[in-house]
């Protein structure tokens, strides 16, 4: 229980869960975006600890490099001028039904933990601690070639569609 791996896991747990909870707590959209950045960093660390290096790198590139920039652009372009309190804070977010949301969240968390604690999972094989990059590349070309191509076409269609939707239709 005292290995460096475990200590790293605990540190990452504090980082990820803390910033996720800060996302829930804050009312500022920009702060939430930065907290989401920290959450994504922690998740990439978890992927490293689960020996999935390909996933960690692609997660970092896509979320920190792509999605977060997209969210920041979205926040900038949709600044709300007025809020209910009268002050012009464009990043302030209304909240409603705090108690029920906390209650449902706690219930889901403890319910899931209880449910997962009841199960007995066993692994197919021993945990492979080596890099999985080569095997992932081979799998993309061999048994997952059709989903791979399909995902590429899907991504193209989604990006073209997003560009078309975001166009100024006047």
């Amino acid at each position: 229980m005292n290995s460096p791996l475990m200590i790293g896991f605990l540190a990452l747990t504090f980082l990820t869960c803390g910033s996720a909870f800060f996302m829930l707590w804050t009312k500022n959209v920009l702060h939430a975006a930065l907290a989401m950045f920290m959450t994504m960093l922690g998740l990439a660390g978890f992927y490293v600890l689960a020996f999935a290096d390909v996933m960690a790198v692609s997660h970092l590139m896509i979320y920190v490099g792509g999605v977060l920039i997209l969210i920041l652009f979205g926040i900038m372009m949709t600044g709300q001028r007025t809020s209910k309190t009268g002050q012009t804070n464009e990043l302030f977010t209304e909240q409603k039904g705090r108690f029920w949301a906390f209650f449902i969240g706690l219930t889901v968390f403890f319910g899931l933990s209880w449910l997962l604690g009841q199960q007995h999972f066993y692994a197919f094989s021993d945990i492979d601690q080596h890099s999985k990059l080569g095997r992932v590349g081979l799998s993309f070309m061999l048994e997952y070639s059709f989903p791979f191509e399909l995902t590429g076409v899907f991504l193209l269609i989604a990006l073209v569609g997003a560009t078309y939707i975001a166009k100024n239709h006047e």
Binding site: F9, G105, I127
Partner: protein, 101 residues
């Protein structure tokens, strides 16, 4: 011999999922809700990766990579739609959308 037990990953995934769900329920800003959806998606992804650890065929890892791409598609299209909604209504509160019945 000092690998992290699987259940720890699952606990973290459960926490992230519950937090994302609470964010969706609490916040009134559509971008905020979208961030909660992302959090839930990544919690599910973490479970896939954690289960894929003890699988020599890496099925969960491949599924996780596909989920990543789908999540990005969803994010880009959702932000484009939010932009259009903002252009039309000058507001992106969730409560502004009410059906007239």
């Amino acid at each position: 011999m000092n690998e992290i037990p699987l259940i720890f990953f699952l606990w973290v995934g459960a926490f992230l999922f519950a937090t994302g769900l609470s964010i969706i329920l609490i916040k009134r800003n559509v971008i905020f809700v979208l961030m909660g959806v992302e959090l839930m998606l990544n919690a599910a992804n973490l479970n896939l990766i954690a289960f894929s650890r003890g699988d020599d065929q890496n099925q969960g890892l491949m599924m996780g990579l596909f989920v990543l791409v789908i999540g990005v598609c969803e994010m880009s299209i959702a932000l484009a739609i939010i932009l259009q909604v903002y252009r039309r209504f000058k507001k992106i509160d969730i409560d502004q959308f009410q059906s007239r019945n």
